[in-house]
Symmetry: C2
Subunit: 349 residues, 2 copies
């Protein structure tokens, strides 16, 4: 049997030779449905394009860059998986670019990255996605990007994003603890350069207020989205004379640190201390006890962000107007073994 040719593929898929060639070369200006049709024909005919010939014909490689600065491996892997899922569907590669979000030359670094690596566009994770100056510079350099940000609603600031309502989920977690009878609820902040931190804090404060519980500043500590800050923060809170009966860590890494601090203090969780996190990372299911948390569909959020970026690239390539409006996500409360009803009235001073 003779090998299939590009002409066979075009006939079987009912498209032009040019379209098959575009699919093979991973050019963005092909709609997903057409791409799938061609790929099915390639599969069915077992057509093998010659890679060396291909790289001569096409002078561009299409890849998206994912820009992040986050110490949490679970979050990063989920972001990568989501962006990759969208990239693969459209024939894009994924270049990863961890960076220092505090670098004064970050905009220049990203512009150079896109230029050097011929990236089609960037997906920006927090906190880079939340730096207005950086965003303006990237837009001025005509770099296509999509932001993942924390916001209650569509910011309508003229730049595309997907947004996550952290405040609502943090409210739900705090409310859950209050409904279990807790009134002394510690709160450990995440990094101040992430907009999600004040959003989560606000959800906590709003819930206390709505339930008529006075805010006690001694129970609220600054820190970063890290295990170590969770551990340190919890040690401080647990050393208070009138210690909290529940601690809400701003993410699961912090909550993991709280859990370790509780264990090391000989406190039984959840009976002597309730603990809640945020994110639904794998750790939150594997710890003992498993963590009450907010399910933040990081992978899905990242997939949508990349899909919208690629969709816009394809629209731009086809001379069509870009997608209007942005997409929002709401994390949901997940109750597990680390939270329980208050057993007795908290000790009074």
């Amino acid at each position: 049997m003779r090998s299939a040719t590009i002409k066979d593929v075009a006939e079987q898929a009912g498209v032009s030779l040019k379209t098959v060639s575009r699919v093979i070369n991973n050019e963005p200006s092909v709609h997903a449905r057409t791409r799938e049709k061609v790929q099915r024909a390639i599969e069915a005919l077992d057509y093998r394009p010659d890679p060396s010939a291909r790289s001569l014909r096409s002078t561009r490689a299409y890849a998206v860059g994912l820009v992040y600065d986050n110490p949490n491996p679970h979050y990063i892997i989920s972001m990568q998986s989501g962006v990759l899922a969208a990239c693969r569907k459209s024939g894009y590669g994924l270049q990863i670019h961890p960076c220092d979000s505090t670098s004064p030359r970050l905009a220049e670094e990203l512009v150079a990255l896109v230029g050097n690596a011929r990236l089609a566009g960037l997906v920006l994770a927090p906190p880079m996605s939340e730096q207005p100056e950086l965003i303006r510079k990237l837009a001025a350099a005509k770099i296509p990007f999509m932001r993942v940000i924390s916001a209650r609603q569509d910011p309508q600031d003229g730049y595309p994003c997907v947004y996550v309502d952290d405040r609502d989920a943090a409210y739900a977690i705090t409310e859950h603890l209050i409904q279990l009878g807790h009134t002394r609820i510690g709160f450990l902040w995440g990094g101040r350069d992430h907009r999600s931190s004040p959003e989560r804090y606000q959800g906590y404060e709003d819930a206390l207020k709505d339930y008529g519980i006075a805010l006690d500043r001694k129970l609220i500590l600054p820190g970063d989205y890290s295990f170590d800050d969770g551990f340190r923060g919890a040690r401080k809170l647990l050393a208070l004379k009138d210690r909290p009966t529940a601690i809400f860590g701003s993410n699961d890494e912090i909550a993991a640190g709280v859990l370790a601090a509780a264990h090391s203090s000989g406190l039984s969780v959840p009976w002597e201390l309730s603990i809640a996190g945020f994110e639904d990372s794998p750790f939150s299911k594997q710890s003992w006890p498993a963590l009450t948390t907010a399910r933040q569909a990081t992978e899905e959020i990242a997939r949508h962000a990349a899909q919208r970026l690629i969709g816009n690239l394809q629209r731009a390539a086809n001379g069509e107007p870009l997608e209007e409006g942005n997409e929002g996500f709401s994390p949901e409360l997940v109750v597990r073994g680390s939270t329980a009803p208050l057993r007795s009235a908290p000790a009074k001073r």
Copy 2:
């Protein structure tokens, strides 16, 4: 003050215009020292090449691909960090390519990846790095690659690699448990498609043999490198009439599952059950108690692998012979709170 030109950079660095242009375009045929000299001059003069002009001049983007199939986020993030460190030093980008190691068309997939994305070469993680058929096909397609494999010594099989001596470290872990008085030591396997699994098992078996402890097949269970298999395996071992007093999980994810199973059975760790893992993942420091494990310098190993790949690419571009010999790494025993002396003689049937 006028802006610096490429000529100023060449003069300051004491190299030709062509060399500066090569550095700016991230071409591989520049030695690291020259590259650094040019980059220092660019920095000192605050020279900004025009990215749009640059992309017209140079038709190639240089990126390395990292190929992996592993459920363990800590391992993956460490691999990525190591490869990235080497890439950045030499001006390469990093494309990530998680894949299905059991796919019958994996070789074709990787050849297409390199062709489509114009990758300069691949770093292959286990188990892909340990599939002889795949390796032969990549070599036949003239794709430059570097393998990270598990082996006691340089395999000298004609293909480049960095190798990790898992057996020796597994021996050290088992010996540590024996020296604490344990003789009934459970062993939970990792995935059979990873060569590290039989290597770690062999270290366990060798240590028992050297200390004159008879192998008990009931204490050895198959599984994958996952939390769930650790949990399931430990539940089975702990249900034995003559249960083990220590369990060695083939990696930290498995050991985390064992820890959860012990907690859920009400066993105090380490006093009623000693647990050891392998890898020194962040979890192993954050769990309660922290895990005794083997420190596998994944990031450093990956960095060396990528450096050797890029070094060979530069040698090939300069017409020089490739580096001879391969590099080996030995994980080291790290003792933490999850292992303790046997308190009493194990129950006899």
